[in-house]
């Protein structure tokens, strides 16, 4: 269809509105008519009722004025302050006139209403009312006549007459009341009738309205079905198309005909399908990537979980190791303290050792001096030995010469022959002496040699002793230096050990901190493990969702 849907709908709505307006107007008209009739009736009824009420009320007022007048008259007779009955009577008369005129009016109104009656029933009723009103009027007239008469009686002071005529008054009053009541009843009936008429009128209006409504509905249905068909048929085809798209068939295109909003919708649907295809394709690709990525994430989270478990185990080991180290650190500290104590004792001992070494040095020095003195003595001995040797050499020389002399003497004696025999004896003696000298010299020399050897060995020994004393002194010096160094080292060691103790203490603190840190790391790694597990779960969920997504996207044929 060429007309745009909006226009069509507007047209349909326009028709519907027109029909509705028409219907409404018709209904309003009908209603207005019915209402006006009802209002008229009601008005008439109300007027009649009001007049009736006024009449009755006037009559009551008259009654009271009358009795008041009587009372005033009685009061006047007792010379108490009272109103003038004449005035009262005037008032009463005025009321009477009003009432009578009202009754007359009522009659007239009833007659008039009868002419204007909506229906015959109403008219008949009005006639009845008129007749009843006339009767009531008459009754009122009689009553008022009697009442006036009473006034005269009162004026004249004929109270006994008053009393005697009271039943007449009462009868007349009762009559009037009855007739008034009858009129009222009639009017009430009229009201009922009016209501019925009104209802009837409304019913008629309703019926006619209903019929008009039916006609309008029919028209509206025809038009709107026409319009709807022009809309829903293409919409239906679009719906089918969309349903197919909803089932996943993104391969088709919507049929586009005409130039209205539906054709626009068709083109938009096609665009949408194209877009959906792209999106589905991208989603499929993204779902694949997501799936693979989540698989990787899952694998890595599992690795991470394993790593976190390993880390946790390592942290446990570290904690245990740290505890061991802490304990060993405590042991080290304890040992260092013990060593420091021992070092102090050693220091004291080394001081004593130094003193001992110094005394040893002094003793060595003394020994050396003694040895040198001994050496000097021995050397002096050696010199004496030398002197003795010289002497012995002299003696030896003497012995040699004596020997030579003896030899020469022996030779001379041999040369002298017989004469030299006694000389030979002397020469022998000399030779013996010389031999003894030589022997003695030899002995002395050997003894000197022994002495010299002894001296030599003594000197050597003394030299050795001096050397040993020297070396002993050097050793003592070395020992002294060593002990000093030892003392220094021990002092340094003491300081070092104190530092070690302090350092071990700090190390303890540090180790405790490290242990705490390791525990924190353990907790953190536990948390990491927990979060990794959560992550794993989440990754698994995401993976599942990715799988779902993939499955969901698989639906689409593109």
């Amino acid at each position: 269809m060429k007309m745009r849907i909006g226009t069509r709908i507007l047209l349909g709505f326009g028709i519907m509105v027109a029909l509705t307006i028409g219907l409404g107007w018709y209904n309003i008209e009908k209603q207005a008519a019915a209402r006006s009739a009802a209002a008229e009736m009601e008005n008439h009824d109300l007027v009649a009722l009001a007049e009736l009420a006024r009449i009755v009320q006037s009559e009551h007022k008259m009654r009271s004025v009358r009795e008041f007048a009587v009372a005033q008259h009685l009061l006047r007779r007792t010379h108490l302050p009272a109103r003038d009955p004449a005035i009262l009577q005037e008032e009463w008369r005025r009321m009477r006139d009003e009432a009578l005129s009202a009754a007359a009016k009522l009659e007239n109104d009833a007659a008039a209403h009868q002419k204007q009656a909506v229906s015959s029933r109403r008219g008949a009723q009005w006639e009845k009312i008129r007749q009843s009103a006339a009767v009531s009027h008459q009754a009122l007239r009689e009553l008022t006549t009697e009442a006036e008469a009473r006034f005269g009686l009162v004026r004249r002071g004929q109270l006994d007459q008053l009393v005697a005529r009271l039943p007449i008054l009462e009868r007349l009053q009762e009559d009037f009341d009855n007739k008034s009541a009858a009129v009222i009843r009639l009017v009430q009936e009229q009201v009922e009738l009016g209501r019925g008429e009104t209802q009837l009128g409304y019913d008629q209006a309703r019926t006619s309205t209903l019929m008009a409504l039916a006609a309008a509905v029919l028209l509206g249905v025809v038009f709107s079905s026409f319009i709807q068909r022009s809309i829903t048929r293409p919409l239906g085809s679009f719906m089918q198309f969309v349903e197919r798209v909803g089932q996943g068939d993104l391969t088709q295109q919507a049929p586009v005909t005409g130039a209205d909003e539906l054709s626009d919708l068709g083109r938009s649907l096609n665009q949408m399908v194209t877009g959906l295809k792209e999106v589905a394709g991208q989603t499929r690709g993204a779902a694949e990537n997501l799936s693979s990525a989540t698989t990787e994430i899952l694998a890595s989270t599992q690795q991470q979980a394993a790593g976190a478990a390993e880390q946790s185990a390592a942290v446990q080991q570290s904690t245990a190791t740290m505890t061991e180290i802490t304990q060993s650190g405590a042991q080290i500290s304890e040992r260092a303290r013990q060593v420091a104590t021992a070092a102090e004792a050693t220091s004291a001992a080394s001081t004593a050792g130094q003193q001992a070494v110094q005394s040893t040095t002094r003793i060595m020095e003394a020994i050396r001096e003694q040895a040198e003195a001994v050496a000097e003595n021995v050397v002096a001995l050696s010199e004496k030995n030398q002197t003795i040797g010289e002497i012995i050499a002299t003696v030896n020389d003497i012995a040699e010469q004596s020997h030579l002399l003896a030899l020469n003497a022996a030779i001379e004696a041999a040369a002298a022959g017989e004469h030299g025999r006694s000389f030979t004896v002397v020469a022998n003696e000399i030779k013996n002496l010389a031999d003894q000298s030589k022997e003695a010299t030899v002995q002395v020399r050997s003894i000197l040699g022994d002495i010299q050897k002894g001296i030599n060995s003594s000197v050597m020994l003394t030299e050795e002793a001096v050397k040993r004393a020297e070396s002993g002194k050097q050793q003592a010096d070395i020992a002294d230096r060593t002990i000093r160094q030892l003392t220094d080292n021990i002092q340094q060691s003491i300081q070092a050990f104190q530092q070690i103790v302090a350092g071990a203490g700090q190390q303890q603190i540090g180790f405790e901190q490290v242990t705490q840190a390791v525990r924190n790391t353990g907790q953190a790694s536990e948390q990491t493990a927990a979060s990794t597990r959560q992550l794993e779960k989440a990754a698994a969920q995401v993976n599942a969702m990715a799988q779902q997504l993939r499955k969901a996207v698989e639906r689409y044929r593109i």
Binding site: E400, Q401, H403, L404, L407, N408, A410, I411, E412, A414, A415, R421, T424, V425, K431
Partner: protein, 191 residues
């Protein structure tokens, strides 16, 4: 010094020193007992009968001396004397066997190197310390020798004649003491 050193017995040492001091002090003193013993001994010896020269000296007294490693002897009758430490004045142009000349009581006497004379191989090695003077009719001749030992009476039974092959030897004893023939020696030289 692995053996345990004995503690020095200073007491014993001092004791010994005291004894030696005492001995030294008394050494030069004349112990009356020793003196008396010496006198007795001397008296005994003086009382001895002199041993007859002939019976006692049944041999030839000879002066034993040493040259190098060998011992030689010369009969006393051939000797004029002995001299210690000769300083021989060298004579230029003299044969090598002549060690030099010495001044003996104002007289010039030749001294021969016995080692060279005897053609000993170690000639000139040993220090000559003595000169043995040979009697040569008033003209003494010296022989350089190393050491003088003793005067020994060589008995006849010990004397062995070496023969003509050794002109310088008068004889040889059983303990290889060679008795020199100085005449032959000197004659050899004067030839």
């Amino acid at each position: 010094m692995s053996e345990p050193k004995k503690a020095i017995d200073w007491q014993g040492v001092r004791e010994r020193l005291r004894e030696s001091q005492f001995a030294l002090d008394t050494a030069l003193e004349h112990d009356p007992h020793q003196v008396a013993a010496a006198y007795r001994d001397r008296a005994a010896r003086l009382a001895l009968r002199p041993v007859p020269a002939g019976s006692a000296a049944a041999g030839t007294p000879a002066l034993v001396f040493r040259l190098g490693a060998e011992r030689y002897a010369i009969p006393l009758q051939d000797l004029a004397g002995v001299l210690p430490d000769p300083k021989c004045a060298l004579v230029p142009g003299a044969p090598p066997q002549l060690a030099g000349v010495i001044n003996l009581r104002g007289e010039i006497r030749p001294v021969w190197d016995l080692a060279r004379l005897l053609d000993l191989p170690e000639a000139g090695n040993g220090a000559s310390r003595f000169v043995v003077l040979l009697r040569q009719g008033g003209r003494e001749t010296g022989l350089q020798v190393e050491r003088l030992e003793q005067i020994r009476v060589v008995k006849a039974e010990e004397w062995e004649h070496p023969g003509e092959r050794f002109p310088y030897l008068q004889g040889v004893t059983s303990d290889t003491l060679m008795i020199l023939n100085t005449e032959a020696l000197l004659q050899e030289e004067f030839r």
